[in-house]
């Protein structure tokens, strides 16, 4: 029997996923620093839901549970979804979103490797469409909040939807910069004046910049570890920056500058952790460029002209639909073949 090659040298899927999780840790630290420990609860909830529902579905589908659970892909999905949700999301929101991501978006399509859409983004989109108010109710960063919620208060809010006595909801929440910018622009204010609001930091959201920077750090680690290829983040951030630069140059009063777009919302999370999901993305080098650039352009358009403050989730899902088309039309030239 010819079963060559006899030797292999590859990180297993588990190792790859583990490194992705590792790369998320700086971002999570920054998150805790800015918004408090509630996010850890959310992440745990999402992780448990993901593992339980994945195990249940594997059992239903009569697949071996242990090897598939230990590939850690469900955990990655759970973490990404948790980090995309508002920090003080009620527990059921986390559970519903994660369940949807794992069961509908992943397992019902055939499990790992077969899902055409990014599961975390499917979960997020479902929640955003179903519960728009909760989904856009972000707490203010602790530095800005009039009332600071302790960890126990956050727990109580997550599980009991109850705030401590004499604390009003408005006191703990605030609009996100992307959201604020959008509503203020509609009121005919100019960008320059709007960004003077306290929720804006040097480049993006106050505090949020730190989280974004931490994601960037994790992303650079993934690049260095060759877990992700440079094509995706570069094309995404490049397209987003190019779009915002064009619009900003045309009318600085109405469009925020490129740096703001790069450092706000889910830009960095998307660049290094979301569009880099290999399963729902293209595989050819040129296809990766097109895909990521498409996500970048769509994200910008949805942010500026769409009905949602941030456009990452829908941009990713829309581009997921184009993946097979992109792959088919970006086949690289095979050695010894001339360009077709």
């Amino acid at each position: 029997m010819n079963r060559s090659p006899y030797i292999t040298n590859a990180p297993t899927v588990s190792i790859i996923m583990l490194k992705v999780l590792l790369a998320l840790i700086p971002g999570i630290f920054a998150y805790v620093w800015i918004y408090g420990g509630g996010i850890l609860v959310t992440i745990s909830l999402a992780t448990i839901t993901a593992l339980v529902s994945e195990a249940a579905l594997l059992k239903l589908r009569q697949r071996p549970i242990r090897p598939y659970l230990s590939d850690l892909s469900a955990v990655v999905t759970a973490w990404l979804l948790a980090l995309a949700l508002p920090p003080l999301a009620p527990w059921w929101l986390v559970v519903v979103g994660t369940f949807f991501a794992i069961v509908i978006a992943k397992q019902l399509y055939g499990g790992l490797g077969y899902n055409p859409f990014n599961p975390a983004m499917v979960g997020y989109a479902v929640l955003l469409i179903s519960f728009p108010i909760i989904m856009t109710k972000w707490p203010a960063p602790l530095v800005l909040a009039q009332t600071k919620l302790g960890f126990m208060d956050q727990l109580q809010f997550i599980f009991g939807n109850a705030l401590p006595a004499n604390v009003k909801m408005d006191a703990v929440t605030s609009a996100t910069p992307l959201d604020y910018l959008k509503t203020q622009l509609m009121l005919k204010h100019e960008v320059h004046g709007i960004t003077q609001a306290p929720i804006f930091g040097t480049w993006g959201a106050k505090g949020g910049e730190l989280v974004t920077a931490a994601y960037l750090l994790g992303g650079l680690y993934l690049l260095q570890q060759r877990i992700i290829s440079w094509h995706l983040p570069t094309a995404f951030l490049g397209a987003l920056a190019a779009m915002s630069l064009i619009f900003y140059t045309l009318n600085p009063a109405h469009f925020a500058d490129p740096l703001f777009h790069l450092m706000s919302g889910a830009s960095m999370l998307c660049a290094f952790f979301i569009i880099t999901d290999p399963i729902s993305g293209p595989t050819t080098p040129r296809g990766k460029l097109y895909f990521a650039a498409g996500v970048g352009i769509l994200t910008y358009l949805i942010r500026v002209y769409g009905g949602y403050p941030d456009g990452v989730a829908f941009a990713v899902l829309l581009m997921n639909m184009c993946v097979s088309l992109i792959d088919a039309h970006t086949q690289p030239r095979v050695f010894g073949h001339t360009k077709n």
Partner: protein, 673 residues
């Protein structure tokens, strides 16, 4: 603008600007070399074993023809089997001794199937036959190539392609560059490395001969940078040969693949549908070149080679081993295996294969034997689903998309796999090497390739069968017509007989009238024997005419049918109408019976006898033909009366059939298939 695009695309493909002398190819992997184990000791000549088993199939191509008999004493270097056909290589006695057996033995092949071998019992004298060194500088190339054909030399890099085919006899090879493959990129293998370290001068002398044979102006030796000693030795030796250079290429598997090596040293991409010779480059392995030198300088045919024995053995090293030496002898020479050895791999760990048993001989293809343990080569963990990470695509030296090929192969979507250039896959194993999901990708491609080849073969056979069936239908149709014709003639003759004794009541007028009526009846009737009763020889003649016309019509119909069959399902032919038409004249006969005379009767009798004789002769001929055909193993057929068009068609089908048979034969004899 174009240059910007080119630069950008090169950047995307991960290639830097080609300022380097060495041109990188896409992908490739860096497996741990493991070469130091077997390079610490010099090459050692292995003693003559007690028994040599020489498989006839040690090369790509046809099996050579055995020239010896059991019990015959042979001398070292004596030809035991002669190359048969173009793509074949001779087998020589590796030492003097007696032919002990000619029969089937297990050969070192992944299939593990036995094959024809010549077994030799050495007499220990190692007595050479008369050797004929060749003064190659003063001999014409045709003779040299003919010599090479009987040298038994094949590509010793592992491909075992008969060497004489790589050198064309007409001396007009069009080769400008000879590339010497010394990359030896697979882990563990060091036979070429050691050969270069120790016998660089002989290799360079061989290069001179091959360069001369090819008429090449340049010669480049491509060596991976993990063989500094060999590089130094070769560089030193190459000074003796003008127009030669040594080019060091980075250690990257599979740089030893001919197309990859040509790209590395020359920056040339051989088009996928062409051979390197089409662009003026020929590649020879170092060991092959040395064998050629020894053949011309000393007259020594291919009787031995350098083999690396390594892995889980006590003293890994390189041995000069006579072909046919049992593997056990080689293992013993390496001081035996370490505990835990489970099996042996022939070739490298990237493209080699498990030897079926330990009782296999060393052949021309055996460059390396690796004693394997589960620690050394762990069985692959269970495969996980593909996560489309495209690491395989990054590693593929052909720039294929292995993840897509895997998907198509797995879902039996072979057409798509072919569209994605499955057949450009060189099965180097880089994709499997880097796959995080442990998917045995190469095995999927091997499977898909074999399925496609089998399907193509089946399709060819089906096409052949269809054509044969069409021809058969046409023949049946023709025969039916012929039978009807004969029947009609017989009937006509019979009527003529009865007419003699019958009344002569019918008047001329009636006869003419009815004859006119009949002849107007159908087209066939015009050519049919309407009046022949009056003059029988004429009747025969016109009957022949009618027959010919009928055959022509049958051919026309067959052609039309074929055309129809190509556009739609073949339909059953409305043969009955035509047959009826051609038999009509028989009923017309009574009309002319009236004017028969005795003389006419005699003539008619004579004609009848003639006809019977003719028929008998035809039957005889058909029988003889059938017999001959049966002896020749070809399906019987009736073609004697066929028109040139039909005959041409038949020979065409024969040619197709013959081609298919040849192809099947070639496929059978190709060990790769």
């Amino acid at each position: 603008m174009n240059s910007i695009i080119q630069f950008a695309s090169r950047l995307i493909r991960g290639q830097t600007a080609d300022t380097d002398a060495v041109h990188k190819f896409h992908g490739g992997v860096h497996p741990d070399g493991q070469k130091q184990q077997s390079t610490s000791a010099p090459i050692k000549k292995l003693a003559i074993p007690e028994r040599l088993v020489l498989p006839l199939r040690q090369h790509v191509g046809y099996i050579p023809k055995i020239k010896v008999q059991v019990g015959e004493r042979v001398l070292k270097g004596q030809m035991l089997a002669e190359a048969e056909g173009t793509l074949s290589a001779a087998i020589h006695a590796p030492t003097s001794g007696t032919v002990a057996a000619i029969g089937e033995e297990i050969i070192p092949h992944p299939s593990g199937l036995p094959d024809m071998c010549i077994t030799l019992t050495p007499d220990g004298l190692d007595e050479w036959t008369t050797l004929h060194p060749v003064d190659w500088r003063n001999t014409d190339k045709k003779t040299l190539v003919a010599n090479l054909r009987s040298s038994g030399i094949v590509g010793l890099g592992g491909a075992t392609f008969p060497t004489h085919i790589k050198v064309r006899a007409d001396g007009r090879s069009g080769i400008h560059t000879l590339v010497i493959n010394a990359a030896e990129c697979e882990p563990y293998i060091t036979c070429d490395d050691m050969l270069m370290r120790e016998r660089a001068d002989e290799i360079v002398k061989g290069m001179e001969i091959v360069k001369f044979l090819l008429g090449a102006e340049n010669c480049i030796v491509g060596i991976e940078d993990n063989k500094p000693e060999a590089t130094a030795a070769m560089a030193e030796a190459c000074k003796a040969l003008p127009g030669t250079s040594v080019k060091v290429v980075p250690t990257l598997y599979p740089s030893g693949d001919a197309r990859r090596l040509i790209h590395l040293v020359l920056g040339m991409e051989i088009p996928h549908d062409k051979r390197s010779t089409d662009v003026g480059v020929q590649v020879f392995n170092v060991a092959t070149v040395l064998a050629i030198y020894r053949y011309f300088a000393y007259g020594e045919p291919a009787v031995d080679r350098i083999v690396t024995i390594t892995g889980s053995v006590n003293s890994p090293r390189n041995f000069e081993v006579l072909f046919g030496t049992p593997l056990q002898t080689l293992i013993d020479a390496a001081d035996g295996t370490k505990p835990g050895t489970t099996h042996f791999i022939m070739g490298g760990p990237m493209m080699g294969f498990d030897l079926p048993t330990i009782d296999v001989p060393i052949t021309k293809a055996a460059n390396c034997i690796i004693a394997a343990t589960p620690d050394l080569f762990a069985p692959p963990p269970p495969a996980m689903p593909c996560i489309r990470c495209a690491r395989c695509a990054d590693a593929c030296p052909v720039n294929l998309q292995p993840q897509e090929l895997y998907w198509f192969s797995k879902s039996d979507n072979f057409e798509k796999a072919r569209d994605y250039n499955l057949f450009d896959c060189i099965e180097c194993g880089c994709c499997t090497y880097v796959c995080p999901s442990n998917i045995p990708l190469v095995q999927y491609y091997r499977y898909a390739k074999s399925e496609i080849i089998a399907a193509d073969k089946a399709k060819e056979a089906a096409d052949l069968a269809r054509e044969r069936n069409e021809f058969r239908l046409a023949r049946i149709e023709r025969e039916k017509l012929e039978r009807a014709q004969k029947h009609a003639e017989r009937a006509a003759a019979g009527k003529a007989d009865s007419a003699k004794t019958a009344d002569a009541v019918k008047t001329d007028a009636v006869k003419t009238e009815s004859a006119t009526a009949e002849s107007a009846k159908t087209e066939q009737a015009k050519t049919a024997p309407a009046k022949p009763a009056t003059e029988t020889p004429a009747a025969t003649a016109s009957a022949d005419d009618a027959k010919k016309a009928a055959i022509a019509a049958a051919i026309e119909r067959a052609k039309a049918l074929k055309a129809a069959a190509q556009s739609a399902e073949p339909q059953k032919k409305p043969a009955t109408a035509d047959t009826a038409g051609s038999s009509q004249p028989a009923q017309a006969e009574p009309a002319h019976a009236a004017e028969q005379t005795e003389a006419d009767q005699a003539k008619a009798d004579q004609a009848k006898k003639d006809k019977q004789a003719l028929i008998a002769a035809a039957i005889e001929r058909a029988k003889a033909q059938k017999l001959a055909a049966a002896q020749a193993g070809i399906a019987p057929r009736n073609v004697e009366d066929a028109s040139p068009a039909v005959k041409a068609e038949i020979s065409e089908i024969d040619a197709i059939r013959e081609k298919a048979r040849q192809a099947a034969k070639a496929q059978d004899s190709d060990p790769e298939a």
